[in-house]
Symmetry: C2
Subunit: 327 residues, 2 copies
């Protein structure tokens, strides 16, 4: 099992990607890793750690794609970036998967153009993990497809079902269409068409509402990329917002400081299911390869879990399963 | 000041609307209230309370619009419902405003068709209060207009600005367009057109993202009714979800029960800004009258605050201000 890791992706490179890669090597015996980035920079960081040198290979990729760069321009002009080089190695079959906490748009573009689409796939999609009271569930599309066509929605649902089975161990994942009401006739004309198209999908439970997300009513929430992106970014701010609100509330009262510390501990434990690090990254579904992207702020633990997701995708032949499910 | 209150709207009628109305009478000296509903039912509930009978009038409206009824059908067929009768009294100038915790769609339809639109208004809209770390802010549209046209978006923003000034006491409310990224070129073609149309609006701060909602980056978040409705219903589930997650976390630990009680108290205080009862209801903006709708589960306190909002709208001539702001 060989996974390429973007050593210069995200907000904390090369430290976090490299520490995450080394953690993955400790956890998975049959794993070896290619680290992509400017060689000197990568080797310097590696020098701070003990590591099994026979299982690590550094691939020189001198260019770095910034987090705010235009994806299309970056992919075209930075042919020697970790993203383009890494995806090329994956395309050439030299690695089994590619993991990065870098520029999501650039990674999606590179995945789509370099790896290509799986047989029968109209459009690749980004499915994101969403925390619910039942654990993480999937929200698809999370921003790759701002407008949602009915036949695309059906493919996104089916691909997310395969991913749910493999990565979240949900046997028969249910699918809900995010809408403004439960009734079939609710929503825009396009949402009604999507509803009709989703009906034949096994596990489709109909429309779900905003109130049904945190309760985990569906295993997969289907929506367009605008709704998905807004909900994704909104959800990420909930834990920190609550901690701030807690501080404000505490500042207004005369509570024993020990109780405050205790409260923060309990609240932190309560919010643990919202911690994205546990799942690490999100997949590009529908591309001809295994490409996992993480949050820019990914910690070493998050990177390690992204690598784990990539390994699981390879081991379970997720793309073979996706092709079967669509045809 | 005369406000009509739907005594049979919401999930807990007639108790909650009537208790809320009586609370408002205690708070506002110059107020009198018309209670609309089946007379016997209303008088029976009134009999459970002491109240200033000279300031309460019961108007017999024998029909009740159910929470799940089709708005268009309900308004057409239930001419003697509290909603249709109350809106008719408002149209006839016999009351200064109408307040209900009933079927939102039916209330919007009745407000639009019976009261009519204000001069120059393309479409009435529902603006909802949204809790942020800075206090309540407005999200518009919250579900009345599932698709958003650029010129409608501009009117929604301007109307919400007037409402923010009057009800939230924000002097120069800022406006953000909810989008998938901050940059001007982000989003669907329609979102780009809306962005361009909003540019001349004083206080427009550009695109905002899902992560900017809870932080209160803008005073007014403009979005289409699909996004608004999903975010509104999502937000409403946050406090209860957290309390459940807290219970789960607590059940897994061996914490002193006293600490748990303390924690719940602190968390409840922290979540108080999320309590919709504080603002009570949301306005239909752009109709030729004052029409405030509340959550189906509205408590007496929420109903009382809805009545307060209606009074504020009348006192500040909100509709006069809206017409000026649009022309």
């Amino acid at each position: 099992m060989k996974i390429a890791v973007d050593a210069v992706g995200g907000d904390f490179y090369p430290k976090n990607p490299i520490e995450g890669a080394l953690a993955a090597l400790s956890e998975f015996d049959d794993l070896s890793i290619l680290l992509l980035g400017p060689e000197e920079q990568v080797r310097k960081e590696l020098g701070n750690h003990d590591y099994p040198s026979e299982r690590i290979q550094v691939v020189h990729a001198p260019e770095i794609v910034g987090m705010k760069e235009s994806p299309a321009v970056a992919i075209k002009t930075k042919q020697e970036s970790s993203i383009v080089v890494g995806m090329g190695l994956h395309k050439a079959g030299q690695v089994d998967g590619f993991v990065s906490a870098g520029n999501t748009g650039a990674l999606l573009a590179a995945s789509t153009f370099i790896l290509g689409k799986l047989e029968g796939v109209h459009r690749p999609t980004i499915a994101t993990f969403y925390p619910t009271i039942k654990g993480f569930r999937l929200l698809v599309d999370a921003g790759a497809n701002l407008e949602l066509k009915p036949d695309h929605a059906v493919q996104f649902a089916r691909m997310a079902q395969v991913y749910s089975k493999v990565i979240l161990n949900i046997e028969e994942p249910t699918v809900g269409l995010l809408n403004v009401g439960e009734e079939e006739e609710k929503g825009t004309d396009n949402l009604k068409l999507i509803h009709a198209a989703l009906k034949p999908v096994s596990g489709f439970i109909g429309n779900v509402e905003g109130r049904d997300v945190l309760s985990g009513k569906a295993d997969i929430y289907v929506c367009d990329g605008v709704v998905g992106n807004i909900l994704l970014k909104f959800g990420e701010t909930i834990p920190a917002t609550l901690m701030k609100m807690l501080q404000t509330a505490v500042a207004k009262t005369t509570i024993d400081p020990d109780d405050v510390i205790q409260t923060q501990k309990i609240l932190k434990a309560a919010l643990a299911p919202f911690d994205y690090q546990r799942v690490g990254g999100i997949p590009f579904l529908g591309v001809n390869g295994v490409s996992i992207v993480g949050h820019g702020g990914s910690s070493p633990l998050a990177i390690k879990n992204m690598i784990k997701s990539a390994i699981d995708c390879v081991k379970h032949d997720i793309n073979g399963q996706i092709v079967s499910s669509l045809n």
